[in-house]
Amino acid sequence: MGTIRVRFIIVALVVSFFAVGMAAFLNYFKYKSTISGIVKSRVLVIGRNVENSVQASLSVGMQFMELGTMNALLSREKASDRLIHGIDVFDQTGQVLYSTERARVGEKVSNSWIEAAARSKTTEWGTEAPDEYVAGISLKNNFDLTVGYLALRYSAEEVDRAAKVAGREILLASIFSFLGIALVAPLALIVVIRRFERDLRALEAAASHLEDRNEPAGPTGSAFDTAIGNLRSSLREANVALDDLRAKLDSVP
């Protein structure tokens, strides 16, 4: 196989690898973000229930720091979805006021939670840790002032498992697609560059008989015919001149 053909095939394989790789990458990340979004919005449905209860309490004049039934409500809501690890309510300094885990009350939440809540342009926010994800809601009073935050900690396992399954299948599909290209593209390329290779072969054949004195073969239809003709006639001309010199030298004993 000619080295030029090999190079063309390598180009096809590199480009296909890039395209298939990018498509797989895009599909995988789209899947992951979609499934994360679905799971997050499912968790937030429960969060909204808590938010509604808090707002109802605040609207009847209760203090945010003194919502007596809050811990029980959080425990009840947590039990409604096995995905949820725990629910915390914390103030603007990050101190946990209510939680499904008593031990967490009074502790400070991670700074990343407060930053994520502050960065969000809506009342919903979220952040990801390696083992669990957090979906949150900024709790506002009747005057639309943020009084605290609700954080629902849920298992990353569900998303990770789904992403792993999908990732494996997308990867397999991509590998098979790439292997398909690796088989088909060289054949297709060979067909397309046949004409070019024929031109090159004609050129090589002509070049291998450059010094032949007999009449050259007729035109091959190659793009190089004119060049080959010029090459031959230049060499013939030079040889004829040297032949003439030879003859004149030989004529003198």
Partner: protein, 703 residues
């Protein structure tokens, strides 16, 4: 001899085949992805529907617990509407009684829903006392049904319908990115064909053509070149061999004649006269011996600059669509400076360093060598990209971006010098076409791929990819020839002097071109494309990938229109008109946002801006040579073009600053409109200023 576009015809055919293969492969990947999405997303969405349903059911049960009759509930449809608003994948919600009759419903009822609700299995759900929910495919929806049961007393069933096409909608969003990948793949294919095969092929065929021309003109001198071990290399070796044989024969004949003459008597000398005459004739017509050592200025060497330049520029272009958003994330309050201006600060500083650095880095790269200058520049930029990826806050980000700018200016100037060193008057345009081609392809591919990466792997890792790409460019630069080409007659280049800058700034003709055309064109380019588009798109809830697609539209317009407008403006010699029309179209672009702030209108803005810039960009710099001949005579070509480029690049730096100030005053849309109005004003002023007879093109001289 060979048609000029012979190789390009082959490239396009090859690219076509590769693209067909890629499209088929992408279709296969998309098909399997759809299957996975369908299989995995639907159950997950069903669980979500069950959770949402449980919340709605709790409301219903609360109402009935106050004694309201289940069939007389008020506001149920309204609650359903709120659910649809928050969950667009839900298409239908209904509550049926224990007989399966619909009491409340909202959304598109799937075909066969009524009979499904009366199905005994579904009716049985009402009697369940657990949190159970059941899902079934009904028409074009997946219906999730759950009991409404008041402490053992069955009231009815709640049904939530999930649109089966929602998976298609999710994949449709991916499809846009896949189309971007296809376009980028096409450009990559052409670039790789050129890099991996074309450079050597073009060089080999070019060498073959030159060899044929030399032999036709009677030049049979032997060259001592090392030929590549491929088809063309073997061919050239055969030609070399034929020439060597001729040379040996010639040398032998000359030697024999000289020997005979040395020992010849007068009579014999007379007999050798015809042979002597024949040799003289041959010496006049044909040349034998060794060819002078070839200079390195062949196409092969020129082509070799393309890959490192492409890789390096791509590294920077990758960041275009998300850099302002990244700055926004790391922003630190600077007293007295608005956040909008602070976001534009790194872009502004980058442009300023490039503008001020380039004139002086040109002579530096000449002194240290183009290859070394490119290497240093790429290393500096790689450190800059890596630092940007790890930046702590705005302050160190500015430092890292400054390194990127310095590296960018070094590589750009050195690569430009590399082309200049290896081209003469005849092939300089060809050399610069290659140089600009690499930049344009990087401009098409970079922002779109960068946007996709930023959306999926985050800003920091995307800068990491830029650093890797820059690192790759270092490897490609290292493969450049180590020997520098020094032009024997070339004067060392220098930056413009302050005296020249001051003199040209007050020159009316020069400033008409620079102040009314070149600078406004750059102001709107960087102001809109590098600052406003990425920020505005994200501000209206879109992604960096979309900003990248927008910037790709601009780049594609440039790639398609610039060659056409350049040749047309050269042919008609009415370059001023192309500049006028281009500026006016650019100026009209942002005004579109007065009509609507829709996404399609923004697309129109970028499209028109690309069209306007493409029409005017090539003609602008040619106009300097055409109409500032007097200034060139006084200050020299280098000084006039040096000042022109300096001011043009200062326009680049001013763009984000002006745009950010306008955002403070009038918001994003107002900024688009005001910036465009400024350029429109400049375009009209330029048209009026160049209307006089002194701006008419000189009549072509009759040959």
């Amino acid at each position: 001899m060979l048609e000029k576009n012979y190789l390009w015809r082959i490239y396009w055919r090859l690219a076509g085949v590769i693209m067909v293969c890629v499209v088929i492969a992408l279709a296969v990947v998309s098909f399997f992805s759809h299957r996975v999405f369908d299989r995995e997303l639907v159950p997950e969405t069903e669980q979500k529907a069950a959770t949402v349903g449980a919340s709605v059911r709790a409301l219903v049960l609360k109402a009935t617990s106050y004694g309201i009759d289940f069939s007389q509930l008020y506001g149920v449809e309204q609650t359903f509407a709120e659910v649809f608003e928050e969950n667009p994948e839900f298409a239908y919600m209904a509550i049926t009684n224990t007989e399966g009759n619909v009491l409340f419903a909202r959304g598109t009822e799937p075909i066969g829903a009524r009979s499904h609700f009366r199905n005994p299995v579904v009716l049985q759900i009402a009697h369940e006392t657990t949190e159970l929910s059941k899902a079934a495919r009904v028409g074009q929806q997946y219906i999730v049904s759950m009991p409404i049961n008041d402490d053992g007393k069955p009231l009815g069933v709640l049904h939530v319908g999930i649109d089966a096409a929602f998976v298609d909608h999710v994949l449709l969003e991916v499809l846009l990115d896949v189309v971007v990948v296809l376009v980028v793949s096409l450009f990559f294919t052409l670039e790789l064909l050129n890099f991996m095969a074309g450079a050597r092929l073009a060089s080999g065929l070019g060498e073959f053509a030159r060899q044929v021309d030399r032999m036709r003109s009677g030049d049979f001198t032997a060259t001592a070149r090392i030929r590549a071990n491929d088809e063309i290399g073997r061919l050239l070796r055969r030609i070399d061999s034929a020439i060597d044989h001729l040379n040996v024969r010639y040398e032998f004949l000359v030697g024999e004649l000289q020997d005979k003459l040395r020992t010849a008597t007068a009579q014999r000398r007379e007999a050798l006269k015809p042979a002597q005459d024949a040799l003289e004739g041959i010496s006049k017509r044909l040349r034998f011996g060794s060819a002078p050592e070839a200079t390195d200025g062949d196409e092969m060497n020129l082509n070799r600059i393309r890959a490192p330049l492409f890789a390096f520029i791509l590294a920077e272009e990758l960041t275009r669509s998300f850099l302002p958003s990244y700055v926004n994330q790391l922003i630190v309050a600077i007293p007295g400076i608005s956040p909008q201006v602070v976001i534009g600060l790194p872009i502004m500083l980058f442009m300023l360093i490039v503008a001020l650095g380039q004139p002086y880095l040109g002579s530096w790269s000449e002194r240290v060598g183009r290859r070394k200058a490119m290497l240093v520049g790429a290393i500096v930029a790689t450190i800059g990209f890596a630092g940007t990826a790890l930046a702590y806050n705005l302050y160190d980000l500015i430092l890292w971006r400054s390194l990127c700018a310095l590296g960018y200016a070094m590589v750009f100037v050195a690569a430009q010098g590399y082309v200049l060193d290896r081209t003469g008057h005849q092939n300089r345009a060809q050399g610069f076409a290659l140089f600009i081609g690499a930049i344009m392809v990087a401009t098409v591919c970079g922002p779109s791929i960068g946007g996709i990466l930023a959306d999926n792997i985050g800003y920091r890792l995307s800068f990491g990819v830029s650093a890797l790409m820059s690192l790759f460019s270092i490897l490609a630069i290292m493969r450049l020839p180590t020997t520098e080409v020094v032009l024997p007659t070339g004067k060392p280049t220098r930056g413009p002097r302050m005296r020249e800058i001051m003199a040209l700034i007050v020159n009316r003709r020069f400033m008409t071109l620079t102040g009314l055309a070149a600078m406004p064109a750059k102001v709107i380019l960087t102001g809109v494309c590098f600052y406003l588009v990425p920020l505005y798109i994200v501000s209206i809830g879109n992604t960096s990938a979309m900003a990248g697609r927008m910037l790709m539209v601009y780049a594609v317009m440039m790639v398609l229109i610039v060659p056409l407008s350049a040749s047309l403006s050269d042919a008609t010699m009415r370059r001023d008109r192309y500049v006028s029309v281009g500026l006016i179209i650019s100026g009209l672009s942002g005004l579109l946002l007065l009509l609507s702030d829709s996404f399609l209108v923004l697309f129109g803005v970028v499209f028109l801006l690309g069209l306007g810039q493409a029409l005017s960009i090539a003609a602008q710099s040619a106009l300097v040579a055409e109409h500032c001949q007097e200034e060139i005579r006084i200050y020299g070509n280098d000084a006039v073009y040096g000042v022109y480029r300096l001011l043009e690049r200062l326009g680049n730096a001013l763009g984000p600053l002006i745009a950010s100030l306008l955002v403070i005053l009038w918001g994003y849309q107002g900024s688009f409109v005001a910036l465009s109005a400024l350029v429109l004003f400049c375009g009209i002023a330029f048209t009026i200023a160049t209307h006089g007879s002194e701006w008419q093109p000189a009549a072509p001289a009759h040959s």
